[in-house]
Amino acid sequence: MAEGKDKGKLLEVKDLHVSFFTPAGEVKAVGGISYDLDYGEVMGVVGESGSGKSQEAYSIMGLLQSPGKVVGGSITFEGQDVLKFSKEEMTSFRGSKVAMIFQNPMTCLNPVYTIGNQLVEALRAHDKEISRENAEKRAMEMMEMVGINNVEKRMKQYPHEFSGGMRQRVMIAMGLICHPQLLIADEPTTALDVTIQAQILELMKELQKKTKMGIIFITHNLGVVADICDKVSVMYAGKIVEQGPVDDIFYKAAHPYTLGLLRSMPRVDADSYERLIPIEGTPVDMLNPPEGCPFAPRCEHCMKICLKKMPPYVEVGEKHRSACWLRVQEYLNQNSDGREEDGDEQ
């Protein structure tokens, strides 16, 4: 972590707004989120479907599909403003500085070309002078690094000849082949069996230690987050509602939504007769996002002010903040006590 301080931040996202201009109206998928990432840091982004977590990742790579557009904010990668990249700059940026792996390895590989072909293509897109043999050698090295055996044979095979877990490994190899500084993993384990999930996570941890790259790990599974991430951002309805170091999030959760997520997870050590406690209600309609806190209708601690105004961030710990009126209330209570004291003093 210390090494990052001199180079500055790897990635800084400031007040990002992403909207989809559909025939039905403007869907505000991401409503102003900010975070930053150090070199070598692993951040988890947790949220339900529709919370905007994938969209903000796509906007980092310029992969937003129309009718989606970035309508506000900035994304700065190694000091450069990504949103202002020209087409050529973006093409050389993707894959070499930032790589992305996706959820469904079944459909993410082109079925009519061999794995070797697709790996070599990824490499030659950024390194124009490399010879074919060298490129193939590099590809095979990568495949070994991600734990694939029989590399020579595998290079000539087609995607449908690989199992799901293997395909995801190939995707990881493809992402890492140009040694990017940042890897964005969009729910990489969701479509895999549980045992394979564990393997892939182990692999990613190992690779991260080796390459010291930053990872943004998008998932809806808190369990996965605990294993691999250094810090966590919890997203709801296009906003980050809580953000902090992973231990803080798990042991000192400061937002009702996070608490709800934690409570709804089945636990190995729970008594068998305990019911799972779900979060009541349904996600927000992003076409007409309400004023006030988006989680309010589902929150058991909802207050009148929650329905009227969006809560501000409150720092509840070291680098740990939460956007909740409860925290504001606590803060105000603390502060007013303090003020009284101050006032008294003055």
Binding site: C108, P111, A125, M174, C178
Partner: protein
């Protein structure tokens, strides 16, 4: 290594099974069409000789005996099938008296085939790029224009296209008279331009539409997202990834296009006076020359069915996913 060899062997076996199955189906279909043709022709009241001077009873009986038309229908059918297998399609009874239908076909079919092949070639060579263009510029003006033009193209029956072309370029407007009205194979390439264009217009528009939707499908696939995330150039994504996947369905709809071109050829040949099988077929219909009608139908139907089979097999070969999955249906 042994695994690889056995995988290849399995592929060959599966493909072989598929080819045999398709061939069998094709033969069954051809057989059915032949029977249907024969039965229909025989169900037609009156006999081919009645339009001429009414022959006497004795002559009728003699003619019937000579052509085997006095035996029961199923025996006639059997005989006809036997003859077919020997290559005997019967003889023309009206248009070219006593000339073997097969030799007529042999003379006329190559002309039709040539015109048809040229038409199909240009249809595919122009249709596929246009379809890609429309898919790429989807939603914009180019796309809308192309879509309307192609829909227009598949809405105009070939006789409409042929007649308009003739009138515009070969006669009506004197200044544009650059192509001949009557087809003359020996007069060089000019004669081929209008008929091939007219014949290929529908397949071109159809191909463009199908390519467009196949490309759009292809561009919506997840692996395109991966390709973009890898940082590949746009042109590479379209031509290497999307197009290759989109072209596989192109093969599938080539089959029906062959059939359509052949049938559309009837009209085009009539309008442009091309001495091909299509025009002859039309004339035989108008003249009720039943052996010719039958023979030509069986021949053309068999050709189309076999072409469809070839196309289906090609499709299976082109898609590597099919190799290891059983049957592939």
């Amino acid at each position: 290594m042994r695994l690889l060899r056995s995988i290849t062997k399995v592929r060959v076996i599966i493909m072989g099974k598929y080819v045999a199955k398709r061939l069998g189906m094709a033969l069954v279909t051809i057989f059915l069409v032949t029977c249907l043709t024969f039965l229909l022709m025989n169900a037609v009241p009156g006999s081919p000789w009645l339009s001429e001077k009414a022959p006497s009873e004795a002559t009728l009986a003699a003619l019937n005996a000579k052509y085997g038309m006095d035996k029961p229908v199923h025996i006639q059918l059997l005989k006809y099938l036997q003859n077919l297998l020997k290559g005997d399609f019967g003889v023309s009874l009206k248009m070219q008296k006593n000339r073997a239908v097969l030799s007529i076909i042999g003379e006329m079919f190559p002309v039709s085939a040539k015109v048809g092949a040229i038409a199909l070639c240009w249809a595919v060579l122009v249709g596929v790029p246009l379809g890609c263009l429309a898919a790429f510029k989807r939603g914009k003006l180019t796309d809308s224009i192309l879509r309307v033009v192609c829909t227009l193209g598949i809405s105009m029956p070939s006789f409409v296209v042929a007649s308009i072309l003739l009138v515009t370029f070969a006669g009506g407007i004197a200044s544009l008279k650059i192509f001949p009205t009557i087809f003359d194979a020996s007069a060089g390439w000019r004669s081929y331009v209008l008929p091939c264009f007219a014949l290929g217009f529908y397949p071109m528009c159809y191909t463009a539409r199908q390519t467009r939707s196949a490309m759009l499908d292809s561009l919506n696939q997840e692996f395109i997202k991966t390709a973009r995330a890898k940082g590949l150039k746009n042109s590479k994504i379209i031509f290497k990834h999307a197009l290759r996947n989109a072209l596989i369905p192109v093969i599938t709809y080539l089959g029906p296009q062959v059939a359509f071109t052949l049938c559309g050829g009837f009209v085009v040949e009539s309008v442009f006076s091309i001495p091909g099988l299509g025009r002859y077929f039309v004339q035989s219909i108008q003249n009720r020359d039943y052996p010719v009608i039958m023979g030509t139908t069986v021949f053309l139907a068999s050709f189309i069915i076999l072409m469809n089979m070839v196309v289906d097999i090609l499709y299976k070969i082109a898609d590597p996913r099919i190799h290891l999955t059983k049957g592939g249906e």
